[in-house]
Amino acid sequence: MNIVVCIKQVPDTETQIKIGGDGKSIDTSDIKWVMNPYDEFGVEEALRIKEAQGSGEVIVVGAGPKRVVEALRTALAMGADRAVHIEDEDLYGADPMFVAKILAKAVEPLNPDIIFFGQRAVDDDCGLVSSAVADYLDLPQLSVCIKVEVGDGKVTVHRPIEGQTNVLSASLPVVITTQKGLNEPRYASLPGIMKAKKKPLETKTLADLGLEREDKLEVVSLSPPPERPAGKTIEGETPEELAANLAKALHEEAKVI
């Protein structure tokens, strides 16, 4: 079985995001870059499926600047077999729909049975890429999954939605997106990190894929989040007093209860 995992490199979730000089992109000078946390679940699940089947290949694919190689190497160190990097220095911040076009082109020749994506990238918070790739490659999609079971030529997943969990099946090949709860991603071991250095990593350009940059979603400006009004400390000598004063403030002042 061939399993592809698409990996986005994103700012570490601790990062303070600063707006760049152009007012419409972020200042990337001081950022620690990591693999999108949801993509780690995809790598882990792919490795588990391969291990359970006793055969197959796990290929990780990432598009973006040169630094994206680090995220791909992390996945190789976790145990993925090889990587494909679509290198483009200006790609960070691109329309996810264009990124989907790139990934569809890059993934198709790999003949995957399953393509894993994160349910969303924690930077653009879009969650567009996976279902767009599914459409470009004419594959069914199973999104936001907390359980994946691979059977004979088919896959069954658990997808929690508002107030219920849907158990869904589709035949392979299929696109699956991951949600926290699916698994506990392993850490890269030291031998894993050593081995990763020798694993194949292929580099392609947009031209190799016959694509030219096009953005149909444009950020015109970025701004800091709206300021929250200064808070109040609830006063009171006893817990009962605190409780009463809080209830009063929420009822009479904030009018939310």
Partner: protein, 324 residues
């Protein structure tokens, strides 16, 4: 001009509230553009419900009846909506950034060769085009975005846009639209406990963190939540400790929520947690550590032991509810 469209989301035979929020948003956009609001409804046996949308700002409903539309699958819905869009050429298409809306967006946009402004918190019209505001980096920055091409598609964050009761009525027009054979099948629906309120759509959330100390202690939050009609959330620490299910996690790698009131109990306010609830309209922090970062985000801070404060607070809330 075919105006502003919304896509109706329904479940278990009912139109979902998030659809009414989209209708309210669409009404405002349509008024600014000087056009109409049309709702597209793909369903099975819900024609009677369609006309009800008129009371929430919808002028017209395009209703497509079909077995294949009884429950949502991305392939079927994307194909059917894309076909209707190609026939009627709306300028704008809005739908909720619910799990369904998020699942649909990329597939639909791919078919129409456009992009999507996902999970918007505000919409404006400038020079006859949509300008959408959407949080990025889990709310650490807000982006103003524009879309090229037609239709301009935006999905709307639940709980942000007001439901507008216009009291009108909508003309329902039946349409035929082909649906492909779905390749995804729904084998089973595992229902959550009766009456459990979805976090992303709750107007009040009571949330617990590591300070709750044990799974069974969440009982006091459940009690408070049931008095307030609230949903119960959790920090990642509480989830990772196995005290709460993953679906309860609020934060950058959990749910992004926007309730009117968020009560954080025994939560320190780590950046990844704030990312998920920082846009809540009113935040209450109950934390015994005066230096916990959650206090600096809170509208109301209670520096105290949550186990001592929450039970009497629940009693106070009961009194308020009884008087209402």
């Amino acid at each position: 001009m075919a105006g502003v469209w919304i896509l109706v989301e329904h479940r278990d035979g009912e139109i979902r509230r998030v659809t009414l929020e989209a209708a309210g948003a669409a009404r405002k956009v349509a008024d600014e553009l000087g056009t109409e609001v049309t709702a597209v409804m793909l369903a099975s046996g819900l024609e009677d419900k369609a006309a009800e949308l008129g009371a929430y700002g919808v002028d017209k409903v395009l209703y497509a009846e079909g077995e294949a539309f009884a429950y949502y699958t991305a392939e079927v819905y994307a194909a059917a909506v894309a076909e209707l869009v190609k026939q009627h050429q709306p300028d704008v298409l809005l739908f909720p950034a619910s799990l369904q809306g998020k699942d649909l967006a990329g597939r639909l946009a791919a078919k129409l060769d456009v992009s999507v402004a996902v999970d918007c918190t505000a919409l404006a019209v400038a020079d006859g085009r949509l300008k959408a505001t959407r949080p990025m980096y889990a709310g650490k920055v807000y982006a103003e975005v524009i879309l090229s091409g037609q239709p301009q598609i935006a999905s709307l964050r639940p709980n942000v846009f007001d439901v507008v009761e216009t009291g009108g009525s909508a003309a329902v027009e039946k349409v035929e639209v082909a649906a492909p054979e779905p390749r995804v099948t729904l084998d089973e629906v595992l229902k959550e406990a009766e009456g459990k309120i979805e976090l992303t759509e709750a107007s009040i959330i009571v949330s617990g963190g590591r300070g709750m100390k044990a799974a069974e202690n969440f009982k006091i939050l459940e009690e408070l939540a049931s008095v307030l009609g609230a949903a119960v959330g959790a920090s990642r620490s509480a989830v990772d400790a196995g005290w709460r299910p993953h679906t309860d996690q609020v934060g950058q790698t959990g749910k992004v929520v926007c309730p009117n009131l968020y009560i954080a109990c025994g939560i320190s306010g780590a950046i990844q947690h704030l990312a998920g609830m920082g846009t809540s309209k009113v935040i209450v922090a109950i934390n015994k550590d005066p230096d916990a970062p959650i206090h600096s985000k809170a509208n109301y801070s209670v520096v105290a032991d949550l186990f001592k404060v929450v039970p009497p607070f629940t009693e106070e809330c009961k009194k308020i509810k009884a008087a209402q």
